[in-house]
């Protein structure tokens, strides 16, 4: 192990690649680590094209061992493909950690897996068997994680628990075993990379294990937000994981976990092919494949309440979009579900209802990952359920919950929007040219209200493909009589010269003042900043979150890449029709992006107008209010 680390340490800084890349063809290396007891070159690999190897790891890091592990990976391929003939799976984020995954996997032994390791390690082809074991381990580990599908605070705890558990188990495994395991991982990874850029499953939970406590909650949170339990959480960089296990992290496919998840899942998502490396930690599915299937199942699904099912379908098909609309639809569906809910005998309302809500939430996540505001609403609902006094009867509890939801929608969304409009129209003067991007319900209300008050201004609506939501806003504004200009985001630096104010909506505002909103918002805000145009973000306070995000990559949502390759109404633009078959080409359709707080002049909330630096104060107050309500 140590001897092997030295050469890699030399190569690391130069060759490390981050970002979009296609894995290079494997170059034969003369070099092979001397201390490697497993001499993989002895086993010639039968090359398969199987998708069950993760491809995320940096080729640079594995390149020293790249060639010799290819030999091994082939055989591993065959083993794994026999065991797990599963369809494509998404892989977690392609961070630097490569071989680390081996150690981590090895460490995440639940008691059952441990014996298996011992048995297999003595077996004939150590590398492959260990890979198998590692997969199985991750599998059982995944079960633990999936049994607690709670979001937010709950999952934070579990993340930490799992982290600690796995850490203890890690100490138990011997060094040789870990190293052997790591070899296998590396081999598998390199082989997978060699075979092509196919998506593969990876173990989320494994990441959770060795995360530092601070990162673990966030990762698990991300996991639940950005992907369901079966998906990979974000992977910190190699350096973070180097605490005691010195080998680099490696992601590894986790067919079995995905298998199990699929059996439990209601929505059968097929993983997309040809995924972008940098975003492997986010789920990406083939669009359009699940809808007919789900529609057929509508009347057969007992565990999911019909309203929730309907809302899920609407999310899946894109009928409901926009933060407030999604949140309200979800809460109203929950209201219906609670109304029709009856406590089974031998169970308490609080626990059972919480579990039921959690199952609904995981169904909705499968349809479309939750937005941050929806997460806050769910947390509110769960805290209200938990606070129900035990003396209440079932019907009283249910009606209390229903009225809580009603009040939440009314106070935090509807009244909040009114307050935002009141504050923001004071910032619109006669003669202003207001720019807005995309379609935000809050901004639309502000513009219409200002127009009703008789202010003289004109509006520039900036729009962008593929969703072209600005067109809907434009239509509604022009109907009311506002004078509007419509332009594409390519022209934003051109049009910004005439603009006096920029109004933007937000999906969420994070604690460091970062505005998390539809993709393209950051671009508009930065151009406005460089032209010294004030940027005003309008966001209800319930969308604030205590998370901190520094870039748009670690947590995001991936949309359907096919809509990028097609232009509606232009059938002749079809050069990209076969993009999925091209190995070198990946299409990326991001849904959100993060705007740094420097570019935001002011945030208008129902608490008033605040600078971006005061967001944590509001978050604190807000959570305190929740306690008192």
């Amino acid at each position: 192990m140590d001897a092997r680390r030295a050469p890699r340490a030399v190569i690391d800084p130069i060759v490390r690649k981050v970002g979009f890349f296609t894995p290079p063809d494997p170059i034969p290396f003369e070099f092979s680590p001397s201390a490697n007891s497993l001499s993989p070159v002895m086993i010639p690999p039968p090359r398969h094209s199987s998708e069950n190897h993760d491809l995320n790891s940096r080729p640079s890091v594995t390149s020293p061992s790249g060639d010799e592990t290819i030999a091994v990976s082939g055989s591993c391929n065959s083993v794994l493909s026999e065991l797990f003939p599963a369809p494509m799976l998404p892989a977690p984020s392609p961070k630097i950690g490569n071989g680390d995954g081996g150690g981590i996997v090895a460490s995440s032994f639940p008691s059952g897996g441990f014996d298996l390791t011992v048995v297999k390690a003595s077996g004939g082809v150590p590398v492959c068997k260990l890979t198998t074991v590692s997969v199985v381990n991750a599998d059982s580990f995944a079960i633990d994680e999936r049994e607690k599908p709670n979001r937010g605070g709950g999952s934070t705890m579990e993340g930490k628990d799992q982290a600690m558990n796995s850490k203890q188990k890690k100490d138990k495994s011997s060094k040789a075993e870990r190293r052997a395991l790591q070899e296998a991982q590396r081999a598998a990874k390199a082989a997978a990379k060699a075979e092509g850029n196919k998506a593969s499953g990876t173990a989320t939970s494994v990441n959770v294990k060795s995360a530092k406590a601070a990162k673990a909650p966030q990762k698990v949170d991300n996991t639940s937000v950005a992907a369901s339990e079966k998906k990979g959480g974000d992977r910190p960089s190699e350096k973070d994981r180097k605490k005691d296990v010195p080998h680099p992290r490696m992601q590894y496919d986790d067919k079995s976990r995905v298998e199990k998840a699929k059996r439990r899942a209601v929505v059968n998502q097929t993983e997309a092919r040809n995924r972008v490396e940098l975003f492997r930690h986010l789920p990406q599915y083939e669009h359009g494949s699940q809808l007919p299937d789900l529609e057929a199942k509508f009347f057969q699904l007992d565990p999911v309440h019909p309203s929730v099912y309907k809302v899920g379908l609407q999310y899946l098909s894109g009928d409901i979009s926009g933060g407030n609309a999604r949140c309200i639809a979800m809460l109203q569906a929950f209201q219906d579900a609670i109304r029709d809910y009856t406590v089974p005998s031998e169970k308490t309302l609080v626990r059972d209802l919480t579990a039921k809500i959690s199952s609904y939430v995981s169904f909705l996540i499968e349809c479309r990952p939750l937005s941050i505001s929806m997460g806050n609403a769910i947390r509110f609902l769960k805290s209200q359920i938990a606070k129900l006094p035990l003396t209440l009867s079932e019907s009283e509890s249910k009606s209390s919950l229903q009225s809580d939801i009603e009040n939440f929608i009314y106070e935090k969304i509807i009244l909040a929007d009114k307050a935002i409009v009141e504050h923001a129209v004071t910032k619109i003067r006669d003669g202003d040219v207001l720019l807005t991007y995309g379609s935000s319900s809050a901004v639309e209300m502000i513009l219409l209200h200002a127009y009703e008050l008789g202010k003289q201004f004109r509006v520039v609506v900036v729009d962008s493909r593929p969703r072209l939501r600005g067109k809907l806003l434009l239509r509604r504004l022009v109907e009311k009589g506002l004078s509007c200009t419509y332009t594409h985001i390519n022209a934003v630096s051109y049009i910004m010269q005439e603009v006096t104010r920029v109004f933007l909506g937000a999906s969420s505002v994070l604690s460091n003042g970062t505005v998390y909103s539809g993709v393209g918002t950051a671009c508009v805000a930065m151009v406005a900043h460089s032209f010294h145009v004030p940027v005003i973000v309008c966001c209800e306070a319930f969308k604030f979150h205590e998370r901190v995000q520094l870039d748009s990559i670690c947590s995001n949502e991936l949309g359907d890449p096919d809509v990028i390759s097609k232009v509606s109404g232009r059938e002749d633009v079809n050069d990209l029709d076969a993009w999925a078959n091209t190995e070198n080409l990946q299409l990326l359709n991001l849904i959100y992006d993060a705007t740094p707080s420097d570019y935001v002049s002011m945030i208008v909330t129902d608490y008033g107008m605040i600078p971006p630096t005061s967001v944590p104060v509001v978050v604190r107050k807000y959570s305190r209010e929740h306690v008192w309500i």
Binding site: M602, Y607, G608, T613, V618
Partner: protein, 357 residues
Amino acid sequence: MESEAPTMENNPKISAYYQTRLAHFGVVSTEWLAQAQSATNPLPSSSTDSDTDKDTNFSVIDEFNRWRSHPDLAEAVAAIRALAAVISSSKASTMMQLEIELKNASDTLKAWDTTSISLTAASDLFMRYVTRTSALEFEEFNSAKSRLIERADKFGEISYKARKIIAMLSQDFIFDGCTILVHGFSRVVFEVLKLAAHNKKRFRVFCTEGRPDRTGLRLSHELAKLDVPVKLVIDSAVAYTMDEVDMVIVGADGVVESGGIINMMGTYQIALVAKSMNKPVYVAAESYKFARHYLLDQKDLVPAIRPVDFGVPIPLKVDVECSARDYTPPQYLTLLFTDLGVLTPSVVSDELIQLYL
């Protein structure tokens, strides 16, 4: 000043705040005397307001003017003292009535000068501070009233002593051999420098002239009396001298929610120059100047008009920019010295949220 004099009398929007400052601190010249005389006549609108609003003999405006005549007293503190006097001389018998009286009094004061930020801010803060005790709801009226008076007096004391606290806090930032640039005559900044001189620190001061009221001249005069080496620079020479300057200290007419300040015209310019040359800009402001406005640019400011004396008659066709103050955004400010402590500009909003929400 033929063009100026008629505009002043006809234009009720001339900021009374600046007229007062003129009277107290401006360089006295014959022309100025004439202008100052006409400026300091109480505006007819305010006196009628005060008379009609009060059905008692007590007039808050009179009280305010009485306090205000002290040149050393900040206008906002005068307002606070006046409002405190309203409570003690009030003949109300219920809490609601008292609060309504207070509200009327504070509205009258605000109407007296709509452009003064610190006046508005101080009145609002006073109302919040005084009426925010929960004990008011449970006690009988007289003890509640005396408690209110107590709090009001305390607030008055705090505001009055604010300058001393600020002076103390800022001593650490003035080191031996430093050069300080100051703009206009801010009594808080003067207090800071006075204390530093008293503590035998060696520093020198660059004073901007501070046109059009040339308050810088007055400040340089006062500083020379304290044996502080003073150099007078005209407003246009700020960038020229900024190389030798170690820090800029200014006062504020008001501190807005974004963390920026409203101050005498020219502050924004100086802050821009200082920022581009990496010199820190410190603002000395009392906490009652924190106002709930959020300014995005200069035009968001309600303009306070002040006559500009060019020394020669201006033809009627020529327009003159008469605004007396400007807004400095928070990114150009380094620190705020307040009686709550030494703060960064982003804390202003935190304080306001805690107080108002």
